[in-house]
Symmetry: C2
Subunit: 395 residues, 2 copies
Amino acid sequence: MAYSIPAPINAPQRILLGPGPSDTHPRVLAALAKPTIGHLDPYFLQVMNELQSMLREVFQTTNELTLAVSGTGSSGMEACVVNLIEPGDRMLVCINGVFGGRMSDVATRAGAQVTTLERGFGEIFSPEEIAEALQRVQPKVVGIVHAETSTGAWQPLEEIAKVVHASDALLLVDCVTSLAGAPVEVDRWGLDAVYSGTQKCLSCPPGLAPVTFSPRAVEVIERRQSKIASWYLDMSMVRSYWGDSRAYHHTAPINENYGLHEALRLVLEEGLEHRFARHMHNHRALKAGLQAMGIEYSVAEGQQLPMLNSVWVPEGVDDSGVRSQLLREYGIEIGGGLGPMKGRTWRIGLMGEASTARNVLLFLAALERCLLDQGMSLDSGVGVAAANAVYRNGE
Amino acid sequence: MAYSIPAPINAPQRILLGPGPSDTHPRVLAALAKPTIGHLDPYFLQVMNELQSMLREVFQTTNELTLAVSGTGSSGMEACVVNLIEPGDRMLVCINGVFGGRMSDVATRAGAQVTTLERGFGEIFSPEEIAEALQRVQPKVVGIVHAETSTGAWQPLEEIAKVVHASDALLLVDCVTSLAGAPVEVDRWGLDAVYSGTQKCLSCPPGLAPVTFSPRAVEVIERRQSKIASWYLDMSMVRSYWGDSRAYHHTAPINENYGLHEALRLVLEEGLEHRFARHMHNHRALKAGLQAMGIEYSVAEGQQLPMLNSVWVPEGVDDSGVRSQLLREYGIEIGGGLGPMKGRTWRIGLMGEASTARNVLLFLAALERCLLDQGMSLDSGVGVAAANAVYRNGE
């Protein structure tokens, strides 16, 4: 029987308000479609230099070893861990959600002696408890998540970096969801190894993982006794390709890097401060709307991420029924809960391009319709009214 | 000082006749630019199913575990190795070029006890010498490269698969450069773990690595005593995302997968047999032209890959001078030699979309100009004439 070739890609126009990917700007989509060229083409080498330069701006760092790993955000996590960890090294991993748990798994596979510090999903860590654990464990590396995509919790890092450095450990940070949506001040805070993904607040399709390593982290890599467990993610080789020697390692994803180049240009055109303020402003409007509709955040006040709003599914409402209806009738994607939050929370992303007043108002109006269909008792219009009040006050 | 944002991507139009990436079809570029959607969107799940189905056609397999790893070809190599190898396992790696050497490095990092079987760059292995090594080493896995991108050598696999299976080992094969340009008959030959890349004969930008695992290989993965060294490449988890449970692992590179979808459609529209014949035909014409110009292949007759022509740089000719001139004056990229072949060979790719009579004739004509500029004594027109003779004879 002859094979029947599938029809061409006919992707629907969604509004991506989930935990990522977020909406991609048309300029980024256009950049993806520029002609593929060689990975050692003089023009592509220029693109790589520009990417490094723009990534340093966005990470707020002068770290030389700043580049885009050729894989998604999780490959960035693995890259940071396997480059810093040698078998038997002690690592302290702070777990308050799925991604801290993942980091612990990655570190264990890399041969680390992992000690975990655990908090409930949605909670954050204090510098004091980390200082206490540092004394107890004496780790080489401390791993923590800045923006827990699974819970919506926002972990302050500045004080923690101080206690980590006081004990001479390295601080490894997951900024997948925060980068370009909230401040990530790598140099000022003193972060040693940081990874992110392209598909959150950078609003670029998934496929690359921006990373940056401090000079202290680079020294640790250079002084390793053992080979890095992953050849593909071996920064001692990858940096030679991104550096002046241009030593061939692997073939960079050319068109993906075009997309990231344009996405970074958009970020820097807007300016980091404006971008962070925009994310915060739309978050406040969304929150006012949701709370007016009786929907509560699953993270404590003051610890809520602006780009990822995790809220409790209201009593008696069908989690996946609402998400399906939003997708089917409005093309709006939001996320369900992960891990122990499965079926209990919704994760509403306002990331990068998707963080707009237009999306906030539409989402609140569409959600109202879905909740009314679910039989929830609700004063019609209160969500939109509360959001508009925030916008009108310019808070 | 204010940061100066780089100009937008302004990629030149190249003709990619190097060792990869190859030229991307406009339909693939257009697919890359379709709207990004969620990685669990019902439409994206359909795309994944279609990708698996088309990849099985191209790999000529019914293997259930057939999918695109979210990284470049080298990540496919690492995925195959780390999933099959547990620390202490014996692996026999056949090295006759850079990529066999890389496989040995990857396997060592994964904890394998590696024994290498080595041949000169450009040579291939006989089933007899592998049978002998199998007896001596008794490995769990044998790794070999089907199409050595660094040398242009074409390794027959069918007989080797038989001797490997006779000793109860698994055969792990690098088909990065061969897939979709020459037969890769996974089931008929009995290959157990095969990886490829998108940027060679599939003519899709780099960024994904098609892989396929036989039921025997899957059994080995399922019976592992230790965790897979790489979380990112752990097929026991990745397969759950591509399988019916759709368990979240990492966020798939959405737009890259769109591109691969269209690239696979193009391959299957043309038909594998026609595509292989086209690659062979253009290879013959190129070879006739090069030989008429006094340029010799660095691989023995009968062992030359159709999609990657490795030839000796003629005596007295400046390797990089010619490559620069080709790029500068004609926008044509060819590759230099790798490893011990650096400065000694050129690697001329005729891969996927780039394998056309148009490219063969233009390249021969442009190369003639460059060689004349280098002061090489050459009867003008002989290359093109010889190639056209092949085309006119329809050989």
